[in-house]
């Protein structure tokens, strides 16, 4: 077998071994791979940046253990920006495992930035998915009446940061981080419909989907329903770069880059082998 024929028949085990190396290397060592911040990610940053300090952000955790590699860093990076800029947020999880992951990472970040539960962040308590629509219909008009207590049973009135938070108008940004396509439900029931004595209030929204459902988000981005979007791991990495806090997503996005490059190189090698041996055959 000459070299060109060999290039056409690389043993799969060699390819698999190369893939493991391509993924493990950026996870183990610091390898600086280029990350370019795309406009959609800058939109997320700017939306939180512009949020008035007297309002709070609502972080919706609509994901579980299965997608934590993508949605976990997205959630953590958003919380990091808010802590960095001394802004407050509430967690609203719809998945018990997601709730645990998000709480753990909120606690770790709070420690890093010297923030306190109840003053800088709050956990509104896990809600079952089956209750999504009724909840979205009721809470924008009456947050304390809908949730009553936080995740640990403390009445909402007793939580310092919740004192002046009563309706959707007190929420500056809704961040939907999700592995399912329920963004439209948020837009339909919360953003598009909320009205009170002062008139309509379209709450700004940002979106943190997994990569596989991200394309659906482009429509909402075009329509101005969401102000920014993180596209899975890649989006989280770009966001980490904006925050100058390169963490897991940056390393994982490095692994994404290397594994994709490996596929590209393998395909090119296969085609070189194919074209060259055909040329020889003709000659």
């Amino acid at each position: 077998m000459n070299i060109f024929e060999r290039l056409q028949h690389i043993d799969r085990r060699i390819m698999y071994a190369l893939l493991v190396v391509a993924i493990a290397a950026p996870l183990i060592w610091r390898i600086n791979l280029p990350v370019v911040v795309t406009p959609a990610v800058r939109g997320v940053y700017d939306t939180f940046d512009k949020m008035p300090a007297d309002k709070i952000a609502l972080i919706v955790v609509y994901w579980g253990a299965g997608t934590v590699a993508e949605t976990g860093p997205e959630t953590a990076a958003m919380m990091r920006q808010l802590f960095m800029q001394n802004k407050k947020f509430a967690l609203l999880p719809f998945d018990p495992q997601g709730s645990k992951f998000a709480t753990d990472s909120a606690k770790a970040l709070a420690k890093e930035y010297g923030k306190k539960y109840g003053i800088d962040w709050v956990h509104w308590g896990y809600q079952p998915i089956s209750n999504l629509v009724p909840l979205l219909q009721s809470f924008p008009g009456n947050i304390k009446g809908t949730f009553r207590t936080d995740a640990y049973g403390t009445p909402m009135d007793k939580i310092p940061m919740m004192r002046n938070v009563n309706t959707l108008r007190d929420i500056g940004v809704v961040a939907d981080i999700t592995s399912s396509g329920e963004l439209d439900t948020w837009i339909a029931y919360v953003q598009a419909t909320y009205r009170d004595a002062k008139g309509r209030y379209r709450v700004p929204m940002v979106y943190g989907p997994t990569a596989i459902i991200a394309p659906e988000g482009f429509n909402a981005l075009d329509a101005g329903q969401i102000q920014g979007m993180l596209m899975g791991m890649k989006g989280a990495a770009e966001y980490e770069k904006l925050l100058s806090a390169e963490g897991f997503a940056t390393r994982a996005a490095g692994a994404l880059s290397t594994s994709h490059l490996l596929i590209v190189v393998l395909i090119i090698l296969g085609n070189i082998g194919y074209v060259m041996s055909r040329r020889r055959g003709e000659g």
Partner: protein
Amino acid sequence: MFTRYLIKPGAPQWLWVLGVIGDFLLFGGILFAFLQAIPARFRRPFIVTLTFLAGLIYSVEFFWPADPKTQMNFLTPLRLKLGEATKVVYAFALGLGTYNLIRFHGSNLIRKRPGWHNNLAFFISFAAMMGVGFWAYYAPSSKAAANAYNMLFEGIVGALGATMFSTIGFYIVSAAYRAFRIRSGEATLMLLAAFIVMLGQVPVGAYLTSGIPSGGVLRNLRLENLSYWILSQPNMAAQRGIWFGIEIGALAMALRQWLSLERGSFFEREL
């Protein structure tokens, strides 16, 4: 009978179990006797009629105008009940699959066929997972039960499921390497689209074309934008085209099933 008249809500569970068994035997027996009375040549027409009637409920419920306020018509409550009932009836069929598993692994184990220790492992993990499931369910306050459940669920079902899922990462590499050759026009088109979209999804792709300005017409040539355009325009149109065909195919299949026009496409043996 028993559950209707003799046992009242609040009675102990074992009484209910007996009652359900009693009713099952009684009504099941009556139904069985009735079915036995149907002459063999009427069996097929009987099933065809049942199939038609079952389908009729759902179709009429759909076509019959609904009350604009409640979005319901006279058949909607029945449809909802039937949906629940189908779920329950379907759940009872799990025993068939489980029987097949037990028969298959059991016979290998009993006959000590080569690899019988694997069949033994099957039974151990089967019993353990089922056991801790019910333990955790019926002893919700036991910490040991919750831990044991998490250990087996996350350690086996969760971890192995995620691992099996992730093997696609390997297979996608070997499949792409083998298939994406410029053998023909079609293969080249496929390769081209895959290349652009693949690179448009990762940071390194965005880096390759980061020299192109992010404003103006030229921005469309940046890989991430090009990739998004391919996904949202030509790809979406093609998917919709396939979709209409598939859906019409399913509709035709449904019509043939409903009216039992497809004689012999599943079963041929005489009843």
